[in-house]
Amino acid sequence: MNDLSASSRITYGAVPLQPGLARRVRGLSDKALAWLFITPTIVLLLAINIFPLVWTIYLSFTNYRANRSNAPVKWLGIDWYQTILTDPDIWAAMQVTAHFVFWTVVIETVLGFGLAFLIDKKFRGHGMWTTIILLPMMLSPAVVGNFWTFLYQPQIGLFNYMVAFLTGRSASSFQMLGDVTLSPWAIVIVDAWMWTPYVMLICLAGLRSIPDYIYEAAEVDRASKWRQFWSITLPMALPFIMLAVLFRGIENFKMFDMVNLLTGGGPGSTTEVASITLKRAAFESWRTGYSSAFAIILFVTVFGLANIYVKALNRVKSR
């Protein structure tokens, strides 16, 4: 700490502080300073996150419509919640969402863990290849949605061409984004392409956190590689895998951009995830009260599931 020279001790900037002022600045207690440091962030979050949330809760009990802001607002109580929870279309959207979350998380976890396991073998150049693999998750969903739309074009797209080349079908015989059975998988493929690296990175951290001596002890005990994998690698990496699943699960439950860009919810409503239903109700039909209630239901669902899951995660961690 030599750079804190004696001459600069009681100066603040270039101006030497008056003794009284110095005492007052120093007199700003740690407690006051702590609040001074933390308050701006809290205020911002209250203004731009919590206040809107509270407003959404209020709106969800009314028949307010944002495109008719002068119309008298009627208090409806829990009507919207009843409407939504008994609407088969909403349940269909929730099912589509659940399918997406399930399949993307399963595929990303299996592939991501597999890749991490391989990279952990420290072959030559693993650092460079890891960085390359990580690229997709750094991109904008808008950009990703765009170029995959291009790749999926039946007449000109590279994806169709490659599938056609490998399977011998004709490239224009199937439409990834226009076919009711294929379009959900078209989105799953893009999501897996983009986010497998994310799971891989977290799993890699998990694998690297396992100390070598445990394996050395297992070697001494002549445990087979297979046994080592099931009894050491997997259980010790499990908290990390679960963390990755948590983050991906929350993100994919909220999934909007990719679907909006690739299919917009179609064909029909085969890829209409909850966020798309919500966007349509809120910004196309302008049913603000209704969509607010749906937004609250979604938020409570994510929040509730995440909390349950975090409890499970903590149990695994503390084992």
């Binding site: 700490m1 731009i48 944002a66 904008s140 000109i156 977290i202 070598d212 909220k254 609250i296 938020f299």
Partner: protein, 317 residues
């Protein structure tokens, strides 16, 4: 990465295992790269080459995609074009070969400028607020600290669409809708949670003794923060800034829902570039490629911090 550097031990995989693992990873990396490489190639194709079947790997490079991204063109008769003087630059030359002349810059330029202003503005704000709060949470006894930190994190669990409705109404009421300031504040609020969590991790690692020594030397707490902690936290602050920048740069959902023209950023704009006879794929690819470049650079720079950044600092390498 420390474990990777430990001395050769019995658990070091055999050369064959490593080779097999290496080839599988390289195979995955190559498959991953195909879409990216393809889009960069497409950005240098002529519109005809871009939609040819089978897809062309060998083609004559063209800058038409980039020109179409940055300019608007108007159709003219060949006779009229012949009366004009020499072409005004490369893009005009390309346009004339298609019986068009460059009419002016496209909307991409102001969108791109919006992206820059909003991304940098919100990053500076989020990092500034985040650094202060992170220091506060790291060094002081704050009542309900864990609850406040969890509250900050939980703001990220909201689906963007859910917050977009009231923010849209709120901004409309106070005159912030479709303004850059509104978007800066919104992105700051999204980024600040990441910034607080990440920076708290970085600041926790700076020994408290440094500031205590400075304070014994007569510094106030605030001076110690500015002159001792901030310089020590530079790397962490830089990494956090890049993460905030990438988020704001990439964001799509809020941008598409809350902006319409004035404050719209580039991501919602790229998908709607329509040329004559449908989607102008080389122009879309060009917009995409330009958007990829800074991200690729940042990814390489961020390698070491990537894990922290994407997990809110919950996992450290």
């Amino acid at each position: 990465m420390s474990i990777a550097n430990t001395a050769h031990s019995v658990v070091e995989p055999s050369l064959n295992t490593r080779r097999l693992a290496g080839s599988l990873v390289v195979l995955y990396a190559v498959i991953t790269m195909i879409p990216l490489v393809w889009i960069v190639l497409t950005s240098f194709k002529s519109p005809d080459d871009a939609i040819s079947y089978p897809p062309k790997i060998v083609f004559t490079p063209s800058l038409e995609g980039y020109c179409n991204l940055f300019t608007t063109r108007s159709r003219q008769t060949p006779e009229f074009i012949r009366t004009l003087g020499p072409p005004q630059g490369l893009c005009d030359d390309i346009a004339r070969s298609r019986n068009m002349v460059v009419a002016g810059p496209s909307n991409y330029v102001p969108r791109f400028v919006n992206s820059l202003i909003i991304a940098f503005g919100s990053t500076v704000l989020a990092v500034a607020l985040g650094t202060l709060s992170a220091y506060g949470f790291s060094r002081f006894r704050v009542p309900l600290k864990d609850d406040l930190l969890f509250f900050i994190l939980s703001t990220r669990m909201m689906p963007p669409i859910a917050v977009a409705i009231p923010i849209y109404l709120m901004y409309r009421t106070i005159g912030l809708s479709d303004t850059r300031l509104g978007m800066i504040l919104l992105y700051t609020s999204v980024n600040v949670s990441l910034a607080v969590w990440l920076l708290k991790g970085f600041i926790d690692e700076i020994p408290r003794e440094y500031e205590e020594a400075a304070m014994i030397d007569g510094y106030t707490r605030f001076q110690a923060f500015v002159k001792v902690v901030l310089p020590q936290a530079t790397t962490g602050i830089a990494a956090t800034a890049i993460f905030c920048l990438i988020f704001a740069w990439n964001e799509y959902a809020f941008a598409v829902l809350l902006t319409s023209g004035n404050a719209q950023t580039a991501p919602p704009f790229i998908p709607i570039i329509i040329g004559e006879g449908g989607q102008d794929w080389p122009a879309v690819a060009a917009g995409t490629t330009l958007f990829l470049v800074p991200i690729v650079v940042f990814t390489v720079l961020l390698r070491k911090h990537l894990l922290r950044g994407i997990t809110f600092g919950a996992v450290r390498k």
